[in-house]
Symmetry: C2
Subunit: 378 residues, 2 copies
């Protein structure tokens, strides 16, 4: 079987490799440290900076298909690998567009895919520009944003002095009913499969996607519309692999694309237990150009992130995991990160239940019990 090279050693790589191991598909990981969640179960690994061109070339030389579990990587070196005739999925063109959120928006707008209204920040004309948007207004860095970083919400004139300095754009603040997401896969034959529309809830403190409810509690029409837009997105990108498409559902039931992740996504973790084919197996199928798998939802589900407890830095300690096992149809995922930090993504829990409210309450109960701490407060 073909060997897959993965740039990044985190949990998305790990969960991909767990699926690959099931089928004995060989993997090799470029990781900044070993052991890491992904490198400790891959067939081989290279320790190095994820921006180190030589290390990426070394990885490419050792595998048949290059992919990545993070989007902050050097596009130039991916292009070089492609020019050498090696497959990179999603392609360098896709990641180039995704990395710069303004390019993402431009592409989507060119294809008439709805997004919130936006404009590049014009530093020479700041006041007039902001007046046009009104408060609150969202400012986003073109590049480098992640899990709430690179996003600044200006609530009043007082915030103007604190605006993001690097290249950025203003975006209309969307008062949304819900944030939705869809996982969608496309293989090199152009076959496309969408997963159910899910609903995301974000932690107010950390702005990290916190809880995923499946299926989203929305009308059938809105669900179909979201799926249609997701398909348009992946076609516009000419994307091969698996993608998480995030949406705003506005108060007027408009669906706007917020952003696109070119990889397995937090909002798709639930697929491991709740769908016929997990997002990770689907990812492998897509980039190895196998037929895509069935995406039927087998059960309603709630996924909740397990973050490092506030106040704790240092060697990871897991507390009260037995409490999680007491809850029905509750699945514990611990990523195996050796060091915990406040709000670091350390694991997740998925709960299945016919009754979505029970799934949510059980997931919350599990998270309240389970603690990721370290020996000493730090």
């Amino acid at each position: 079987m073909k060997t897959i090279g993965i740039i990044g050693g985190g949990q998305l790589g790990k969960m991909t490799i767990l699926e690959a191991r099931k089928m004995s598909i060989p993997t090799i990981v470029l990781t900044t440290e070993h052991p890491s969640p992904a490198s400790e179960i891959s067939n081989d690994y290279i320790v190095g900076d994820l921006y180190d061109d030589e290390k990426i070339l070394e990885l490419a030389n050792k595998c048949d298909v290059v992919t990545y579990e993070i989007e902050h990587i050097n596009v130039k070196i991916l292009k070089e690998i492609e020019n050498q005739g090696k497959k990179v999925y999603p392609s360098s063109n896709v990641i180039e567009i995704i990395q710069d959120k303004s390019k993402q928006k431009k592409l989507l707008n060119n294809y008439n895919i709805p997004t919130s209204y936006w404009e590049y920040v014009d530093k020479n004309n700041l006041k007039i520009q902001i007046e046009k948007f009104g408060f609150p207004v969202v400012q986003k860095s073109c590049t480098g944003g992640y899990d709430g970083k690179g996003v600044f919400i200006l609530k009043s004139k007082d915030d103007i002095k604190n605006i993001i300095k690097e290249e950025s754009y203003f975006e209309k603040y969307i008062k949304c009913k819900k944030e939705l997401a869809i996982m969608i896969a496309r293989n090199t034959n152009g076959e496309i499969k969408t997963y159910p529309v899910v609903e995301m809830a974000f932690d107010e403190k950390t702005n990290i996607c916190d809880t995923v409810i499946v299926p989203a509690q929305i009308s059938k029409e809105i669900g179909e519309k979201a799926k249609k837009i997701a398909i348009e997105c992946i076609k516009a990108l000419d994307g091969i692999g698996i993608f998480g498409i995030e949406f705003f559902l506005t108060e007027d039931d408009e669906i706007l694309v917020n952003e696109i992740a070119p990889r397995p996504h937090n909002s798709g973790h639930y697929t491991i237990e709740a769908c016929t084919t997990s997002q990770y197996e689907q990812f492998l199928r897509a980039i190895l150009n196998y037929p895509l798998g069935d995406t039927t939802l087998l059960s309603n589900a709630c996924m909740i992130n397990i973050l490092g407890e506030d106040g704790y830095h240092g060697k990871t300690k897991i507390k009260n995991e037995e409490e999680v096992f007491k809850l029905p149809k509750t699945y514990l995922h611990i990523y195996g990160k050796r060091e915990t930090r406040p709000f670091r993504k350390m694991g997740h829990i998925t709960v299945l239940n016919k009754d979505i409210n029970k799934a949510i309450s059980n997931a919350k109960a599990a998270r309240e019990k389970l603690k990721i701490i370290s020996d000493s407060l730090g």
Copy 2:
């Protein structure tokens, strides 16, 4: 979390460790070779003979709970480990009984659990003894039997000269309607969970369990009876861990216990995709004394073994795996054994389908396409 030490580096260890990795439960494997299916994904491994007492003690020293994925191990050293205060699950008492099929039978008979009628082979009285049983009669080695080895069926007087020489017993040949099996788990608190009754079909050529059909196509009464007997078995054994109980269903709808496997079992592979909790996660829960998981069957299923193609010895090559991905709800498991041999267990395929006949035909279609071969015929 507690570290689990596993004696054996094969596919049962591998699939257990895949579940352990999900939760970052640390594992260490004693394996005769590395890489092996289990040792290449465990946190640590020891290379050594599985009968080497020193290596087993080394394993025990490095973990909190000792278990095994094969039953042919030295009981004495397990007793020594237990005497040192370390947990061994299933306990040395259990494995001691299981290893000697005549002891297994005796125990079951003591608890009035039905088995086929049997007698120790009396070499001084062979002819009279065989006459009593009549032909065909089954002869089984007390110890060392596995996947059809250690079993001899005497069809006529001509076979008497070829009987098994080591300690053995005769067993009444059961003309059975079906062979059934149940996975059953029990934790240290005495909590018990049973899985659905499955139906096993054996390959005539190799006598290896070949196809598992879930649920068994039997009446509800027979299913309930089999479950009741399985519970009696695990209680009689005082077993902690997960057990595969194999049954004969006679033409008179009697249920006889054939034998007991004190570990995850081929007939339970289907649980990975078809049940809420897989046999592997259940195994971990049982030996770590967590509450046991829900065993609900989510879909009808058929599991089929993938054996090394006849005629091929050497470095494993997988052919036509893409054909498997074309089939709906079909899951490919390749164990990652580096060397193939004729009829060696190299993987399995599970197919889910509401319609059990479709599951069976898709599983057979998958197996017809997929071939495990090597570069050269050998």
